[in-house]
Every structure is written in C-alpha cells, then in structure tokens.
Amino acid sequence: MPERARPVPFRGGGFAPVAKRGTGIAVFALLLALIEWGTRAGWISNLTLPVPSDVAATLAGMARSGALWTHLAPSLVRLAVGSLIGVSAGIAVGVMIGLFSYVRAGLVPLVAAIFPIPKIALLPLFVIWFGIDEASKYALIALGTFTPTVVATYGAVDNVDRSLVRMGQSFGLKWSSIVRKIVLPGALPGILSGLRVSLAIGIILLVAAEMLGAEHGIGAYILQAGSLYDLERLFAGVVILSVLGVLTSWVIGRAERRLLRWRG
C-alpha cells in the first residue's frame, strides 16, 4: 500500500556555539546608540547616565592633554608587577599542591581560607605592613591574583591524563622530565583559563588599591571624578578599565592559540 512520502523532520542542530563575527560589537554599538538617544532626548536624566559622546570627548581631551598617560602608566605598572608576582607564585604553589601530597594536605585548606577574604578589606592592614607607597598596592594585587591562580593550577595538574604519566614512568623517564614534559604542558590549558579570572580580579583590585593613597592612576581618577559627581570623567575611567579587561582577555586568547595549537 503506497503511502504519502514526506521528508524526515530534522531534529539535530544547535548546542554547538560558533563564532559570529561582529555580533559583540553590534550589541555594544546598539546599546551606546540607545543611551545617546535617551540622554539627548531627555528620557534618561543626565543624573543617571552621561551622554556617551561627551564621555568620548572627555577621553579624547585626556589623550590630548597627556592626562590619560599620567593615569594609565602607573596603573599598568601596578597591574603588571602585582599580577606577575601573584600569578607566578600561584602557579608555583599550585604545581606543588598538584605534585606533593603533604603540600596539598597542608596548603589547600589555607588557600580555601584566604580565597573568600575580600582583599579590599585588608587594604589598611597592607598599608601598615608595606607602607602607603607602591609596595602595598603590589601586595594587594599579588594576593588577589595568587589564590585563584593556585586553585586553577592545581585543578589543572590534577586533570592531567594519568595514563600519560604512567607512560612516562614505564619508559623510565626521570621525575623532573615527567613534570617538565608531561605534567606542565598537560596542565597549561587549565592554567591559562585560570589566568583570565586572575587578571580580571587583578584589575578590580588595582582600582581598589588606587582609591587609597594614590595621586595618579585610573582608580584615583575615578574616585576623584566620583566625589565631584563628574559623570563624564567617571565613565571615561570606567571605559578605560573595560578596555583594559578586554585587552588582557585578548592577549590570553592569543597566547592560548599559540601555545595550545596542538588542540586544533
């Protein structure tokens, strides 16, 4: 008995994110255009949000007068030095936790205890310990980036395929060779994705540190603008921070693509 032929309905598809170029920028532009329109037309009051084009003008003015650089340069140095210390110590401790049972048993609870402390709350203490100068700012950023890096690193070391380690042992590789050639490269993907989180935390703490006893720096600039209720300048500072965040994330993305080419 012939029956009506019809195509089998398609039920697959989806659940596989693909890169859509330009979507992010379009959303951004749309949002800015909306705010620009709202602030100009008046249905967003100028106490709520500044006019985006005014913020852009403020930024351009800063760049022209050189103020942008006087604030950005010390901030970048603080972020770089602080997170370099925090991240490298974090990776070292994380690898040790991953490799040695005693270090794990001793330090994991300690790290768990330090992790949830809002580092900003410790700032006055840091000023007493390290002085009001740069050292306390480095220390704050270093401590803030240290804990998430430790957690990401030892997680990554734990996730290294044990069969590869077993293989290394079965070929009589030296302990140091196994760590250098099998464990560390195997943990690299996890360490790099932990770095994204750590550096974002670093930027947050940078601003916090600069709100206390800093003459120059993005954080100081924002604090100043805030206390004068100068929304254009405040948002100009926020934009700089966002750009900084996007930039670090982009740099890590590049590093991932270069170092993890083997993942395809």
Partner: protein, 255 residues
Amino acid sequence: MDLTLQRIGHRYGGMPVLQDISLRIPAGEILCVIGPSGCGKSTLLRLIGGLERPDEGEVLQLGDAPEGCLNPLTYVFQDFALLPWRTVEGNISLVLEDHGIRGKAARAVIADVLARTKLSDFRAALPRQLSGGMKQRVAIARALAVNPAVMLLDEPLSALDAQTRELLMEDLVALWERQRFTGVYVTHNLTEAVRLGHRIAVLSRRPGRLREVIAVNRPIADRRAGDSDLDALQARLWDLMKQEALAADQELLDA
C-alpha cells in the same frame, strides 16, 4: 632475558584480583594472556613491568638485558598514551632524551623505527591528525626506539576497528619476524591470541588464576585468518572461557 613469575597474588582494597600465578616467559616468544573481563590481566601486566608491586610473590628477571637496550620492559598501551602536544617525531624523541640521545643520533633512531612501522611520511604530524591505527603504530615505534628486551602489550588493538586490527596484526607479525622480541600480549580477543601467541595463558574470572597454558605450534608467520586448526583452537579457548565470562558478566563490580 627471560622473565619468571613466582606465585603472584594481588588484591585491591582487600579484594583478591590475582591468585597464585606462576609463569615463565622465555626470550624470543610471545605469550598471550586471555581471560574474561575483570580477571586482572591488565593488572598482571602492570606487575610484570614494575608499574605496580605485587602483594604476594615476585617477578624475576633472569639474565641481563641485551646490549643497547634502553628500557628493558616496555609497554604499548591500549589508549596509545601519546603526548598530544608533541609531533610523531617528538613523541619518540621523548623516550630518547633522558638517555642522552639527541640530535643526529636521535634522528637516526627515529628514522629507523618510523620506517619499520611505515610512518616515515608522518614524522611531523600531531597525534590528533592521525587515525587510531596510526596512533598505535606511533606507540609501537616509540616502544621499538628504546630497543626493549620485553614488549608488554596491553590490549594494543582493542581500541581499533576490525580492519585496522587485522592490518596491525600483520604488522606485528612482520616486526616480530624481523627482530624476535619477547612479548607479553594481554587481550580479550581470542583471534588475536591464536594469531600472535606462541603460548596462550588462560586466566579464570576474578580472582584471576592460571587455568591453562596452551602452546600453539604453527609458526606465527604461517598463520592466516580462517586456518582450520586455529579456528578449532579458538573454539576450544572459547569453551574454556565461556562459563567464566558469563559468570563474570553477572557479578556486581564492587559487591
């Protein structure tokens, strides 16, 4: 170099997995170890190569490894265990670097083993670019590079499809013909056992004991798929194992 197992016993968390296994593995011969799943065949292989310590008994090595042997007891793993971030060449040089073989000497060894495993065109490929069969060839090439006295093969063909398995079996036979290595070949595949084993050790279900050791007299180079005496042997092995396999299948894993 011969290996002797003396009354090996092993347990995991109080549960015996191997009991009273005594075996002799003479040089130049391939011993296949078969048994139902969970009978401890892979554990036995890890004990033989020193990756685990037996709870009872010992594994003895008689005589010295031949000259030029870098790693006497060398494994080939079921999951290949290749470093995904190293090329084919890099994966082989990994096991040479610690022996101080670098540069020109390493390149010579690598070229030789890649030629023997028909991989010369793939020296710069990454593991993810290779098929399963090719990956296992790389692992075999890596094992050959250290000039092993004994090759310990842990279900080396189990992750491959039937056709690739047939091809690789032929390759293994050719490699053995060329250089008569000693082998311990753990498998659950009876066809592989009757094709590659000079002797076949049959283990019972858990706790694994030695049920029988069967010698296969036909030279391995002359064995083909569908040989009637091999088929008969395979049927006999299956008879030996069938009840055990059935019972093993119905056991709870951690009862």
